[in-house]
């Protein structure tokens, strides 16, 4: 078990934050904001509450920082908090998913071949998150972390506080639901096929 320089940096940085150094708090925020945002985005998709969620995640990070026992990397620990924030948001939102955000590029305009492909891809991603909206929060988070964020099953299990077996079951359910959604949505099906199929 090697101790990396980054790990030692984290330990010292956390200590400075706990000592009340605002500069250290800013440093921690800037070091980890990209990964927190990426984690939230991949689980939740484009989201008008993203700024609030980022803020909520970091506030929880700072409030809980004393509990970080340095047994895991700080990044993994922060990821866990970000995932928890996303999970709670999904649960709170319940069965009434918000309407998908509309962008200017949704307008129907003549497109070049490349432009049409990009438009199609954006549309497919929105449909993907539409399908995810119909999953349970636990299945959705597991699916997003595994399939979209690219984390191994064991890490997904760790981040979500579930067993590896439970995580595999959630992934299986999520895939089955996505298959069902793709069966009714040719755009989504074509896009998923391009990624190697739904299975």
């Amino acid at each position: 078990m090697a101790v990396s320089a980054a790990y030692i940096d984290d330990v010292v940085l956390v200590d400075r934050v706990l000592g009340g150094e605002q500069a250290a708090a800013r440093d921690l925020f800037r070091r980890h904001r990209a990964r927190v945002h990426a984690s939230l985005f991949r689980v939740l998709g484009s989201n008008r509450d993203m700024d609030d969620l980022m803020q909520e995640a970091f506030l929880q990070v700072f409030q809980s920082l004393r509990a970080w026992r340095a047994e895991a990397s700080l990044a993994t620990w922060i990821d866990r908090i970000a995932v928890r924030v996303a999970f709670r948001w999904l649960r709170k939102r319940g069965a009434t998913p918000p309407a998908l955000e509309l962008h200017d590029d949704d307008a129907i305009v003549p497109l070049s071949h490349g432009g049409a492909r990009r438009q199609l891809a954006r549309d497919a991603v929105r449909r993907l998150y539409g399908a995810l909206d119909r999953m349970s929060p636990a299945a959705r988070v597991a699916f997003a972390l595994y399939e979209i964020d690219g984390r191994p099953v064991a890490e997904v299990a760790e981040l979500t506080g579930a067993t590896v077996t439970a995580t595999k079951v959630r992934l299986w359910r999520a895939r089955r639901q996505l298959d069902a959604a793709a069966a009714e949505d040719p755009v989504l099906r074509e896009w998923l096929d391009g990624a190697g199929g739904a299975r």
Partner: protein, 389 residues
């Protein structure tokens, strides 16, 4: 399906700088105020012009006054000082160092103690009683002179010589310890012998001195703020007492300058130069703190656990006790059976006791004894600490 199959197909929307700044402001402003926060060093080093400095002393900072990323008290880091031909006087508040011409030494203030490393030349020191604070230690070659409150001189030429004018110092070398009392001298060859007459006390006008020039008075451009080395508690002007005197407050703070100002005033617990060889009554807590500080810390071993312990040790030596403690916490979590367990426990004692022998110190000593009571010297010191309750 494999992990990350969709990763590249779901691009993460970028957050623009304005949004990020807004989020950052929201987070930082919501953080609770920390009254104990360490203020960033303001770095206002007073620069005395070469002409002024040359009138009192010629000392140059030759390095090591760098600001690290930790925001720790800078005085904890060693400051190397080269005295000019005329020598120099540095008032630390709780100690005055009079450096002979050409003396080269570094000063650090780890957790309230004073750590001086003499490379060459002669230093005369007037040290207020430590009263439970970490000791003042002068290192010269392989000799360590541990002080609990005294007036003495250390010279490093062909050999190291120690001359004690007041009080008592402990000289440690290669595992042997000699107590050198007022009026006695010690050298590497002769060990303790009858000492010469007391060196002259520093002149009143010498203090405080902030030296800024090199050897012959030529400005180096280096700046030194000796003020940050000063013991603030000891340097605060004494509060007037009802009878207008300041004796009680002065005695509490142990301000070395005050004692020098009034040569007739003697601390009743320290012998004067005229009491050479007399029995010396020392503050037992200060003596214990000195014993504690004199115990060497184990060097870092190899491997990941050794690396982490080594980092904690380095932070401690830089005077960043809290960072060191945090790294030791990390060590305990990551290497519960690490080969440095005993060294880690002892370093915890050192950290906990850095501010004096108090509850936290006793607790750490007790924890050390609970796991490492092997009857050795460290265990003995830990037992003495726990017995102070």
């Amino acid at each position: 399906m494999s992990e990350g199959r969709l990763r590249d197909r779901v691009p993460v929307e970028a957050l623009d700088d304005e949004r990020l700044s807004r989020i950052e402001r929201g987070v930082i402003s919501a953080l609770p105020a920390r009254p104990g926060a360490r203020a960033p060093w303001r770095g206002a080093a007073p620069w005395l012009a070469a002409a002024v400095a040359a009138a009192v002393a010629a000392v140059a900072l030759v390095g090591l006054w760098r600001r690290g990323d930790g925001g720790a008290p800078l005085a904890a880091r060693p400051t190397t000082i080269v005295a000019g031909a005329a020598g120099a006087t540095i008032d630390l508040g709780d100690a005055v160092i009079v450096a002979g011409g050409g003396a080269t030494f570094s000063v650090a203030r780890p957790d309230g103690g004073v750590d001086i490393a003499l490379t060459r030349g002669k230093l005369e020191l007037d040290v207020a009683p430590r009263r439970g604070r970490p000791p003042l230690v002068v290192h010269a070659d392989d000799v360590a002179v541990v002080v609990v409150g005294t007036r003495f001189a250390v010279e490093r030429g062909d050999e190291v010589a120690v001359t004690v004018t007041e009080g008592l110092v402990r000289v440690e070398r290669g595992g042997t310890t000699d107590m050198v009392a007022a009026g006695q001298a010690w050298s590497q060859r002769a060990r303790v012998a009858a000492g010469p007459a007391a060196p002259a006390a520093p002149a009143e006008g010498d203090v405080p001195v902030v030296a800024t020039t090199a050897g012959d008075g030529a400005a180096t451009g280096a700046e030194i703020d000796v003020d940050v080395l000063r013991d603030r508690a000891a340097a605060v002007p004494p509060a007037p007492t009802r009878d207008g005197g300041e004796g009680e407050a002065r005695d509490r703070r142990g301000d070395a300058r005050e004692r020098r100002r009034d040569p007739a005033a003697t601390d009743d617990r320290r012998p004067s130069g005229r009491q050479a060889g007399a029995a010396v009554e020392l503050d037992p807590l200060a003596e214990l703190a000195a014993d504690l500080a004199a115990q060497p810390l184990a060097a870092a071993g190899a491997g990941a656990s050794g690396e982490l312990y080594g980092k904690a040790l380095a932070e401690f030596r830089r005077g960043r006790a809290r960072e060191a403690g945090r790294l030791l916490d990390a060590y305990r979590v990551r290497f519960p059976s690490g080969s440095e367990r005993e060294a880690v426990a002892w370093l915890r004692v050192r950290i906990a006791c850095a501010g004096g022998i108090a509850d936290g110190c006793r607790k750490a000593a007790n924890a050390y004894l609970g796991a490492h009571d092997d009857g050795g010297r460290r265990a003995g010191i830990a037992r003495r600490i726990t017995a102070t309750r």
